[in-house]
Symmetry: C4
Subunit: 220 residues, 4 copies
């Protein structure tokens, strides 16, 4: 079993590999709940130069407990999520391009196909725009998140995803971008052809979500 | 000659390599008709961790004959296709992004250029939306498929392709995504310029399809 | 100095590397004018399996002079171009996605930016749709090509480029796709914002084209 | 500490790696202010064949001081920027695809999300079209650039970015392309959905820009 520091390091490297960040924007954290330590990307360090030892361990108040670098300036939003969602042990923040187009336009990612129903159980909700002061972003996420859906679009900003592990939160961030891309093109084509592209209904969504999450899917 | 298990393993790996799946969505199967065994991707196993021995061999009723893992939850749709299309020895299911945009918008992929005429001999048909219960997906595919066209778009879902081998079915899935991309952009540009983008006529389509499939193309 | 067979082999491999073809669609040829031999991709051979010895040497009537395989079914169009454009020693045919979207919509690629003026000296012309019989495609290319512009869009089909060498023809095919992508998005954005996106004027185009082709550019 | 020649060499290689150029279009320069030498890409040399020794050292009048090749034909615009912006030690020119779509349409890249506010502090301005004669491009850049924003879109042309080092100017060029892509899709989706996609307000932009540039961000 790898320790949480190394897992957070490797999960951060998936962001550029998956095309979810360019430059230094975006970060992954993971929480070791037993020890109360949040491991998070250091601020402004390029992914290609980052080493496992650069990952910063902080407490929920942002005090550095392990490591020599400063944590991401987004640490406060990560910490807020860990404090208010007790099942979450992984948080990801990105400005991935297609999802950020939804953020800029101010609309949620509608549930237009069964693959999104599988993973998210419906539309991916969007928050209002909120500035970077104090815990405003965390509160807005809490207010708009939907039960069972491990991600939200942040209005005029980007994506936050949160799940039981850093690896699962990265997977959710990847899926947000994937369905944002599909749905953007479905919306554009619908408009071009004069078709009203309807979201799936809730009863139909649930048939897919429950199969995917209900024990029938996967090895176990 | 490689055995069908290894061929199915390698064909599955082509899906992420070709950008046709992300995460664990999507699967390839191949049928050894002589022995009556369908080899298929195991459920929920990430492509990068999958080994040849993980490929599951099942009979047409889903009983596991070879291997220790559970087959993809989509096995029932694969098995239905093998039962009803006797020439098919390879089936692929994806949610590839551009094709799924057509699925979400509920429109077939029109035949707008000669490359699609070569491979598909016309438009790629689309089914109605159908849920994941019993053999509904298989029946809907059977109802909407067109002779000589090795793929359909599943309404609000994704793509199924089926051909004489797993390798050919993967090629068809790749081509569905390729022409979905081209045609999406042709449709958007046509609308932006006020042009009615017309499909090719059937007589013209046949000139290309017959050349490509009629023995003049390829080495033989 | 590499011989023409090897150069054609390597130029063919650039097509999938540059994203200009998927599957087996697309081909490059080069003509050794001194010996009167056209080297061209064999029909239906996947790029990843092709070896230098698979490249076929034919005369202008399609008789195989070197090699054991059948040439691309498109050999007749390549041969027609070599017969009618005496300065051309390289021909490329692709269905590259953004350029084929213009082909499907039936519009030329307008000259919207200086980079296209540099390379093509104006818009990339488009032919009418023409079937695959006899030398129809070659005649249509000849009819619509513009002096100084090494490429045309084939209506409802794809791209042909032709230049002094196979390498230059591949470069032209790459540039066609590049400006097709840029211009598609410029056209869509213009329509979304209600802006009439105007092509560059001929006098302005010539300032760039002449600098790029007139000896001031490059090492020499 | 690497010398400026090698840094400019490596920064040039980032352009194709980041997808900001194809072919030979695009170039990076860096100025050693102490010695008064501008290091710049040689004209027309493909990136994959370029060696560190090919980088040309010139003075502000274009006289070659180091190296055997001719500098990029764009050297005059680079030299003009260095002469008029004394803090700039790195300049990048690209025709990156999404940014060039804005150039072709003649509109600036609006500030639609916080990531752009972080890096650019507002919209990325656009110049009028200007030809390649004398110092017209440099003068137009000077006229339209905005304080604190290290890039401009050149009307009907492409991108120039300029910053304290070649590496920082490449980063700015990458970010221009990234936000051009996001914003293009936001604009298209807004139009498709009948939504007026509003830029961020200046007071909100400043909260992000000042945090990113004001010392709170990064390690220091």
């Amino acid at each position: 079993m790898k320790n949480m520091r190394n897992r957070v390091y490797e999960a951060n490297l998936l962001l550029p590999e998956y095309g979810l960040v360019v430059g230094t924007q975006g970060n992954v954290s993971g929480m070791d709940r037993r020890r109360g330590i949040i491991y998070i990307k250091p601020s402004g360090v390029p992914y290609e130069k980052m080493k496992p030892a650069d990952i910063v361990g902080i407490d929920v108040n942002g005090n550095v407990i392990e490591g020599k670098l400063k944590p991401s300036v987004d640490w406060v939003h990560h910490a807020f999520i860990y404090a208010h969602m007790k099942d979450v042990c992984g948080v990801v923040h990105t400005h991935s391009p297609y999802a950020t187009a939804f953020a800029a336009a101010g609309i949620p990612v509608p549930c237009l196909s069964t693959g999104q129903a599988d993973v998210f159980g419906g539309e991916i909700p969007i928050t209002d725009y909120v500035d970077n002061r104090a815990d405003g972003i965390g509160r807005e996420i809490l207010k708009h998140k939907r039960n069972g859906c491990p991600a939200v679009i942040l209005g005029k900003h980007g994506v936050f995803s949160f799940d039981a592990s850093p690896e699962k939160a990265v997977f959710a961030a990847l899926m947000v971008e994937y369905f944002a891309k599909i749905n953007l093109f479905a919306i554009l084509m619908g408009q071009a052809k004069g078709i009203n592209v309807e979201p799936m209904t809730l009863p139909e969504i649930e048939k897919w979500y429950k199969r995917y999450h209900g024990g029938g899917y996967g090895q176990k």
